[in-house]
């Protein structure tokens, strides 16, 4: 097996004992893989992504990233630098007044010199076709523009893995098409949460479904809409 970028083993998590969300999740992400993560509303997809970058801590189970076991907050500082998480709501992510400042936020936190940061900002904006947006006011952008700027801000950290949480949620067709084209150009391994089958078909090459707190590897998007009745202890799913 090639060295995995991410590996979750038997992860349990719940918001309080009454609300278990994940009960024995396992999966691994290999370089170059693009995994579609499916699941019903509230099935824990976002929770899973937040566990990977250490925003939430599992009740039990192991999270490995880049070949090392990650347990305490300090372990996840490096993970967050190398794994870029795109939030569901771009407004949560874009908090700086201008686009340039928002893109610069991550690299400046990593201690990059200002001259270099300016280059990164210009380069990322150019890659996403957003040149000239530097001084735009973030909260006045349209929904599609916000999403792209948030993605550019994540890419400014130069991550090796991308976790995209509903990237095309509430985007119109043209904006979605543009995002498909951008995502397909990116070299990173990805996990994409979405309910948009067409988008997933165009961008991913493997599928996982979150069912009753467990991950099930599925043949490419040929999955039944409902969870299979039989949950046969597949606790370390590999996307197929």
């Amino acid at each position: 097996m090639p060295e995995m970028l991410l590996r979750l083993t038997d992860v349990h998590f719940g918001y309080g004992p009454q609300r278990p969300v994940l009960s024995g999740c396992g999966f691994a992400l290999a370089p170059g893989e693009r995994v579609a993560l499916l699941g019903a509303n509230g099935s824990g997809k976002t929770t899973l992504l937040h566990l990977i970058v250490g925003l939430l801590k599992p009740v039990s189970g192991q999270i490995e990233a880049f070949g090392r076991l990650r347990t305490v907050e300090a372990d996840f500082h490096e993970v967050r630098r190398r794994v870029g998480l795109l939030f569901q709501d771009a407004d949560d992510q874009l908090f700086c007044p201008t686009v340039a400042e928002d893109l610069a936020f991550g690299p400046l936190n990593l201690g990059r010199p200002r001259g270099e940061v300016r280059q990164i900002v210009a380069a990322r904006l150019a890659e996403l076709g957003l040149s000239g947006y530097e001084q735009r006011i973030t909260h006045k952008l349209s929904g599609g523009e916000k999403r792209l700027v948030a993605l550019a801000a994540v890419l400014a950290m130069d991550p090796e893995v991308l976790l995209l949480d509903e990237p095309v949620n509430a985007l119109d067709d043209a904006a979605t098409a543009r995002l498909v084209e951008i995502v397909n150009r990116l070299p990173q391994a990805m996990v994409i949460v979405s309910h948009d089958r067409e988008f997933l078909q165009q961008t991913t090459n493997a599928t996982l479904r979150l069912c009753d707190g467990r991950l099930i590897g599925l043949p490419r998007l040929a999955s039944p809409v409902a969870c299979p009745p039989d949950r046969s202890g597949d606790s370390d799913a590999r996307p197929q």
């Binding site: 937040h50 970058v53 925003l55 500082h77 967050r80 630098r81 870029g84 998480l85 939030f87 709501d89 407004d91 949560d92 992510q93 908090f95 700086c96 007044p97 201008t98 340039a100 400042e101 610069a104 936020f105 991550g106 400046l108 936190n109 990593l110 200002r114 940061v117 300016r118 900002v121 000239g132 947006y133 001084q135 735009r136 006011i137 973030t138 909260h139 006045k140 952008l141 349209s142 929904g143 599609g144 523009e145 792209l148 801000a153 994540v154 950290m157 119109d172 043209a174 904006a175 543009r178």
Partner: protein
């Protein structure tokens, strides 16, 4: 981007941007403007003599001419202030102890009262004019950055920046909730149902803001935030700032000289 209503070729601020001044003052280094506004406001607030106050007011008028605001807009913004001052004119002359100019039985209009009302009116108008032209024409984000250059505590500067960024988001959230109430037939009346519903609305806004703040904090952590904001933009003093600095310094000196002359 084929977004909703906004246009990709629109690189400047939309016209509804409230602080869209384009005069000479708007091009002056924000740090200089904040410093000048604070110094002028302090000196004018302490001044008691009419020469200094009139000079300050005249200077403020001149500043309006260089701010790109337009006289009409400036006067409109002074209206609410002077409405409050009018109330003061109705009260102060009667209530200040002193030698009465006119007496109506036990009540009298005191010379000291009139003087005091005039001083307060001049002072307030002058200070507001200066703040309006120097600071009011600034994007609030620029003000936040300028403040952090003055060693204003980081937390305060951050609060200002976050407030600016999320005020609009909260407003949208409020309007959405309010619209949702309206389409289900809610009309505010003077009854318990209204109070309870508005209470729920306020509570829901608080809860949502709290949730949002947690998500924002999480997003910031993901990008390596550790309590320190790094400013991308550095302000730079330029030659264009020299006339402003000179005039502001001269005016300050003149105001102080007027007050010293009065005391001697």
């Amino acid at each position: 981007m084929t977004g909703h209503g906004h246009n990709a070729t629109h690189h400047t601020h939309e016209p509804q941007e409230p602080q869209a001044a384009s005069g000479y003052l708007a091009s002056v280094d924000p740090r200089l403007r904040v410093a000048a506004a604070v110094l002028l406001a302090v000196v004018l607030a302490l001044a008691q003599g009419f020469p200094a106050l009139l000079l300050g007011l005249a200077g403020g008028g001149l500043a309006v001419a260089f701010s790109g605001l337009g006289a009409a807009a400036a006067l409109r913004r002074l209206l609410p202030l002077n409405a409050v001052l009018l109330l003061m004119w109705l009260v102060l002359p009667w209530s200040t102890p002193g030698e009465p100019l006119v007496a109506f039985g036990p009540l009298g209009i005191a010379r000291e009262g009139l003087r005091l009302a005039a001083v307060v009116t001049l002072k307030a108008n002058a200070i507001v004019l200066w703040l309006m032209t120097l600071v009011g024409t600034m994007e609030v984000s620029v003000l936040g950055h300028a403040l952090s250059h003055f060693r204003v505590p980081q937390k305060l500067a951050h609060m200002l920046l976050f407030t600016v960024r999320y005020l609009d988001v909260l407003q949208q959230e409020y309007l959405r909730l309010r619209a949702a109430m309206k389409v289900r037939g809610f009309r505010p009346r003077l009854n318990r149902h209204t109070y309870r519903s508005l209470g729920y609305l306020a509570g829901m806004l608080l809860v949502r803001s709290f949730d949002r703040s947690e998500r924002i904090a999480a997003a910031m952590k993901c990008r390596g935030f550790s309590g320190q904001f790094w400013l991308l933009d550095h302000f730079a003093l330029s030659r264009r700032d020299a006339p402003f600095a000179l005039v502001a310094a001269l005016l300050l000196a003149a105001l102080i000289a007027c007050e010293i002359a009065r005391l001697l």
